[in-house]
Subunit: 130 residues, 2 copies
């Protein structure tokens, strides 16, 4: 299939597919006229890329998964390199969750104090005669 059809079936743009190719993630054959020519397997690859991007991976991290799929595995997750990336990403997410939790607590406290201060000021203002 050509690039337009793949883009539509994968729910993305032709620009995106060319970008993935430039980054070495997708390798279409070329027709005699120079047109890119993708087989069905590439649809699967593009879906894998999109799914991992949506989870927060960058394209470099996704490379092992694509290689794993290309090696004939039913899932891109099962190869050692992929598992290593999954472990690392999980650790990164855990880390980020911690920091974001701390941020949440700080924001919450900051907000609570601000509101408390406003209540106080409001009371004092009402007490003050005119």
């Amino acid at each position: 299939m050509r690039i337009g059809e793949l883009a539509e079936r994968a729910g993305t743009s032709t620009r995106t597919l060319r970008y993935y190719e430039a980054r070495g993630l997708v390798r279409p054959r070329r027709a005699a006229n120079g047109y890119r020519c993708y087989d069905e397997a590439e649809l699967r690859v593009v879906h894998e890329i999109r799914a991992l991007l949506a989870v927060g991976f960058d394209l470099d991290d996704i490379r092992p998964f694509v290689a794993c799929l290309r090696a004939g595995n039913s899932s891109g997750d099962v190869c050692p390199d992929s598992v290593a990336v999954l472990r690392r990403k999980l650790a990164e997410v855990d880390d980020y969750l911690d920091r974001l939790g701390a941020v949440r607590r700080q924001l919450h406290d900051q907000l609570a104090r601000a509101i408390a201060h406003r209540e106080e000021t409001c009371l004092r203002t009402r007490q003050r005669p005119e």
Copy 2:
């Protein structure tokens, strides 16, 4: 004080201070020779900016806090606009925490399945003679 001293006392760079000025967050007077001239209050402002940036705010969100400080309040948090931003940011963080939690669960499951699959394959390989 001049820009170099403020930068050092605030723990940042002169480039950063000029950037904040370009974004309208800091307004130094100018000396006769054109040099920027900051008073003590600006140090406080810069600290406020830095603290909020560290929490994940962008410069536009920080503007109300700076205005609040400049209005003479002891904290940049207590003005209505600041409180509104705090509320919104807290909601955004909560939202992001939810999504990141979902991502974490997906990564965890994905990793577990990949490892399980590898165990299985490993067993089958050992069973197969030679």
